[in-house]
Amino acid sequence: MIKKKLAIVGNGMGTCRLLDELVLREGTRRYEITVFGEERGGAYNRILLSRVLGGDSPDSIVTKTPEWYDRHGIRLIHTAKVTRLDTVRKSVLTEDGQSRRYDVVVLATGSQPLAPPIDGMFGSDGDLRSGVFVYRTIADCLRMRERARPREGAVVIGGGLLGLEAAKVLADRGLHVTVVQVAATLMNTQLDALGGEMLARQIAHHGIFVRTGKTVEGLYGDEANERVSGVFLDDGATLPADMVVLACGVRPRVEVAKASGLPVNKGVVVNDTLATEVPGVYAFGECAEHDGKTYGVVAPVWEQATVLAEVLTGKQRQARYRGSKLYTRLKVAGVDVASMGSLEPELDSDQVVQVIEERRNAYRKLIIRDGRLMGAMLVGNTAATATLVQMFDRGDPMPEEPLDILCSKPPSSDPAECVVCTCNKVTAAALRQAIAAGASSVDALSVATKAGTGCGSCKGELAQLVTLYAKKTEPLPLAVAN
């Protein structure tokens, strides 16, 4: 069989997953695959970047080495950037002037960090000024690591998931960290105002300073005006800083799609099969726009990758992508947040349950429509997260009293409830009661409760209970298992 040529533009987490799904479906037998990436050294898991920032080796988060691509007969090109697709001649054009034929092409160009227009952010060479960083790639992390020194000041611009994660790592490295957030509260796309406020208090407990509702108006430099040495806020305050980290969100990377004449809105527009309107051209991941939505977290990207693999290999022709349910979990030591679905009720009939624990800085909120979970946020007390997110994902019916879900303890063992004698279902509590009532030997305990009269495998345990709880004046049992 002559293989078709499949070109994939981009080598991020989405592509990584797509390749796994293709390999799983024997897609490498149907396609000769070429991947165009920008970074050397294979693909890595971006959500673990904080490990590299925290000091681990870059290799520790690499999911696919160049050797992996070789092993699966996949060509990886990272020497020349893709400029555009020629959709008439069906080829990928790169900046070195080469053109490579494709039968099917997938755009997985991802997203890029937003750099807000701030005075003094760029150096004379047009690049980010020395000491200013975005938090997006391994290379960014290595540069930040080199700069970050204990007791120096750092300003993180952006109080979303990524900004808080970077702030925490820098604080752990001993820096004085301030998070500046334009919005009135932290993580405002995942939490309502109260939730954001509770989170800010928790963050503060970890020695991180938070300034919300503030805009950074400009950066100022050292005497030579090269390196950054602080920021101006819109309220007139200045914050000295040896490093500034930009974590202001991302936007889809669509240059290649635009240059290729593909329909682009916020992202590259795709349908339920992740196809663009040009035959043979697909797009997915953070660069793609499906049903008016773009996604900036990894779970939806992976769901798209699975559907796309089904579509490309023809294994399941009915596979369709119908949108994703949004879920975010922030878990850095001591700060615990979960958020899913809607932040606020939308219909008058939507039910809202809020549990506010001011003193514990804990906040939980559920939004319920027609007995199903529409949204939930948990700050400071996330014990119910696992149960809630599964109910949310599956659309399971909520209990009539939604508080039941929040109250239910994670199943742990209550020693008193432990069945000691499994033959006769006698619990530890019942045995202690019997001991208190005078059963002071294993035999007496067996007579009183029937425990130990079945298979006898609990007799050692009975003896121990007697030893522990029978009055000391009573004779001790003979058999004690050690």
């Binding site: 999911t63 080495t65 149960t387 599956r394 742990s412 499994t422 298979c455």
Partner: protein, 713 residues
């Protein structure tokens, strides 16, 4: 002297043997109290070092099976009118031989086969495999052990190069710092094992239980991870991800004793705790606690049961558990590592001696030319005469009938109609057979379709070795002779062989003779029994294989210095998570999972005949969370119709907070309309052939008072 005292004075000595049920194989003493051999007392053997004088209610009541009124005492042949008629052995065996011969002549040798059992002794398993390959010349022999430990076997073989259920004696359990029981409810399924667990806990050890239900075993745990059915693989990968993140990996061990860690490490990078929490329902805090206990205890072990194994990704899940323990540097250290709590009495030995479609005696592989040569030499045939690999258990049963091509089947000690997934399909298939021969002591759901039933001796009526869950080869001794009219499986196989024209290699005076040939056949194989004798077993309370020579002491503990792969290293395997074959959706919104009651064993073919057990557990009940029960409007003891894409069963409800609100549970010990396996899905593990008994999607509704225990077809 009064008569009673006189009776005591002449009391014969007790015979030491082992329980007929599970892989724990409790040592038991049986004493015949009367001259006829009808009144038999059973006690637990105080001296046997595995159960140390304890035994569960199943073992204690097992003698009831010997003189049971339902016992078959003569061969039965199905007449034209469909009724079974008693016939002589001569007639029955002539008939079977003639039918086998004619089926082979018409359809070829692969059209006949055999289905064995983990209840058979090593000698029987060995001879059955030999019979099918040498006499029938068919590749098609497999056994119900496929439903038991095949995933653990496949996983251990790939990781360690050898498969022995436990790589250490059960007594090591008492010495481990952290014990993680993964999908095993051993407090109910092998109760006497709990003495070792209580001992471990008393010494300050930690117990972690992973199970979708809060079982009796989970109740004694200090940490219970109540995961979503079918997500064990995700959780295991997630724990490894955490171990790496928290710097708990034993890098020195990984470098010295393993290979393949780099690929594995990269593959679990995507199993971050938040994703795993979402998939499994196990909170991040609990994941962290579990992995820290395993890593930071001086010694720790994971023992798996059928929970993670009976899935269509069971062998990958076992590999993930092994990956974790290897990465933590635990495997081969004292009281540490991974083990499988094998289920059936001889689930271990049964898979070592050639009644498995892909294996030859001594754990040799039927597709390995060296292994074929070695066995062919023992059997006195040319290697080319040995057939190749046959179909795995469910595939074998599913191939019965004109379409699949299997026309004649011999079944030994297995109630396949109850124990197989998608039971109604299996029943249909075996009804399409032109010849079904069942060797058993009792009629059961499978004999209903049999053309011939051959009554066999029971465990206390014959001799033979078993290999328990530890890999300890033990001896069952004869307590009394079989009743007139019953023959041993060994005698049946030999007599059929003679009738089919093969006498050479099927002339044995005793089980011990068969064992001697088995010893020779295993010499040099992975499961080497050549140094084990009945005498040595008697003297040493069993012998652990491998035992390659007469002077060898046996091998209680494996892996201290080396693994069985060439080069001596254990192998890591990257095993990415994949969902179960069938997950809940809007049509079938609930998980369904199956398991056991303490009072019953497997398909219940034996235990449902014991009144003492039936009194305690007369019927299966479906376990349901009160929240779900409230929604469905079903109260305790009322009928609940549970329906999957394959069938429906009306169970009585048992309402309990011990089960997840998204999951229903029912035991599989009953047949007919109460068979849990009418619901289960026949999705198979691609490596082990294990069916997915532990997860499928169902819907449920209250039956209403009129439909108690009635099947809704």
């Amino acid at each position: 002297m009064n008569p009673l005292q006189r009776l005591r004075a002449v009391t014969p000595e007790a015979t030491k043997t082992h329980c007929p049920y599970c892989a724990f194989q409790c040592g038991m003493e049986m004493t015949v109290r009367d001259r006829k051999g009808h009144d038999i007392e059973v006690t637990a053997d105080e001296a046997f070092p595995v159960n140390r004088g304890q035994m569960c209610i199943k073992g204690l009541t097992s003698a009831a099976l010997l003189e049971h009124p339902a016992r078959i005492r003569t061969p039965m042949l199905r007449e034209q009118d469909g009724r079974l008629a008693p016939v002589t052995w001569e007639t029955a065996l002539d008939f079977v031989a003639e039918r086998l011969r004619s089926l082979r002549a018409t359809y070829g040798p692969a059209s006949v086969g055999a289905f064995g059992s983990g209840a058979l002794t090593n000698e029987k398993a060995y001879l059955l495999g030999k019979f099918v390959r040498v006499v029938l010349r068919s590749p098609n022999v497999d056994y119900n052990g496929r439903y038991c430990m095949s995933s653990a076997a496949a996983g251990q073989n790939r990781a360690f190069g050898i498969d022995r259920g436990l790589p250490f004696p059960v007594s090591d359990i008492a010495k481990t710092g952290t014990l993680m029981l993964w999908g095993s409810n051993c407090a109910e399924t092998m109760p006497p094992i709990t003495q070792w667990i209580f001992e471990q806990k008393s010494a300050g050890g930690h117990l972690i239980v992973v199970d979708p239900r809060r079982t009796d075993t989970a109740r004694i745990a200090s940490l219970h991870l109540q995961l979503t059915p079918g997500t064990d693989l995700a959780l295991a990968n997630g724990l490894l991800h955490l171990a790496i993140e928290q710097k708990l990996i034993d890098e020195d061990y990984v470098a010295r004793r393993t290979e393949g860690f780099d690929d594995l490490r990269r593959s679990v990078l995507t199993s971050d705790p938040a994703r795993i929490e979402r998939l499994t329902g196990v909170p991040i805090e609990q994941q962290v606690r579990a992995v820290r206990l395993l890593a930071e205890s001086e010694s720790s072990m994971i023992l798996s049961g059928r929970g993670p194994e009976q899935q269509s990704k069971g062998s990958d899940t076992v590999l993930a558990l092994i990956n974790l323990m290897l990465a933590l540097g635990k495997v081969g250290k004292p009281a540490s590592g991974y083990g499988c709590l094998t289920g059936q009495g001889n689930g271990q030995g049964g898979r070592e001696h050639g009644q498995k479609a892909d294996q030859l005696p001594g754990y040799r592989l039927i597709e390995d030319p060296d292994d074929r040569r070695a066995i062919a030499a023992v059997w006195g045939i040319e290697p080319d005469e040995l057939p190749g690999k046959g179909k795995s258990a469910y595939e074998l049963l599913d191939s019965c009938g004109p379409q699949g091509g299997i026309r004649g089947l011999l079944v030994f000690g297995s109630n396949v109609v109850v124990s197989s997934p998608h039971a109604s399909n299996v029943e249909r298939r075996i009804r399409d057979l032109e010849l079904l021969v069942v060797c058993d002591s009792f009629q059961n759901e499978t004999t209903e379709a049999a053309h011939v039933i051959l009554p066999v001796a029971q465990w206390a009526e014959e001799e033979g070795t078993m290999t328990n869950l530890e890999g300890r080869v033990i001896l069952r001794q004869r307590v009394r002779p079989p009743p007139p009219g019953c023959k041993t499986d060994l005698a049946i196989l030999c007599e059929l062989a003679h009738r089919l024209g093969v006498s050479r290699g099927f002339q044995f005076e005793s089980a011990q003779d068969v064992f001697d040939e088995l010893r020779a056949a295993t010499a040099g194989g992975r499961a080497d029994y050549s140094g084990i004798t009945y005498e040595k077993i008697r003297l040493e309370q069993g012998v652990f294989w491998p035992c390659p020579s007469a002077g060898h002491p046996g091998t209680p503990r494996l892996f201290a210095d080396t693994f069985a792969h060439p080069g001596g290293r254990a192998r890591f395997h990257a095993v990415p998570y994949r969902p179960a074959e069938e997950v809940p959706d809007t049509e079938y919104p609930l998980y369904f999972t199956t398991g056991r009651y303490k009072e019953h064993y497997n398909s219940g073919a034996q235990t449902r005949l014991v009144q003492a057990l039936v009194d305690v557990r007369p019927e299966p009940r479906v376990q349901i969370h009160p929240r779900l029960a409230g929604k469905l409007g079903v109260a305790e003891g009322e009928g609940l119709v549970v329906q999957s894409r394959r069938g429906a069963v009306c169970f009585l409800a048992q309402i309990s907070t011990d089960i997840r609100a998204d999951t229903l549970f029912a035991p599989f010990h009953w047949g007919g309309r109460m068979a849990a396996n009418l619901l289960t899905i026949p999705a198979l593990d691609p490596v082990s052939g294990m069916p997915e008994f532990k997860v499928c999607a169902v819907r449920a509704r209250a039956a209403g008072p009129a439909h108690q225990n009635a099947t809704i077809a």
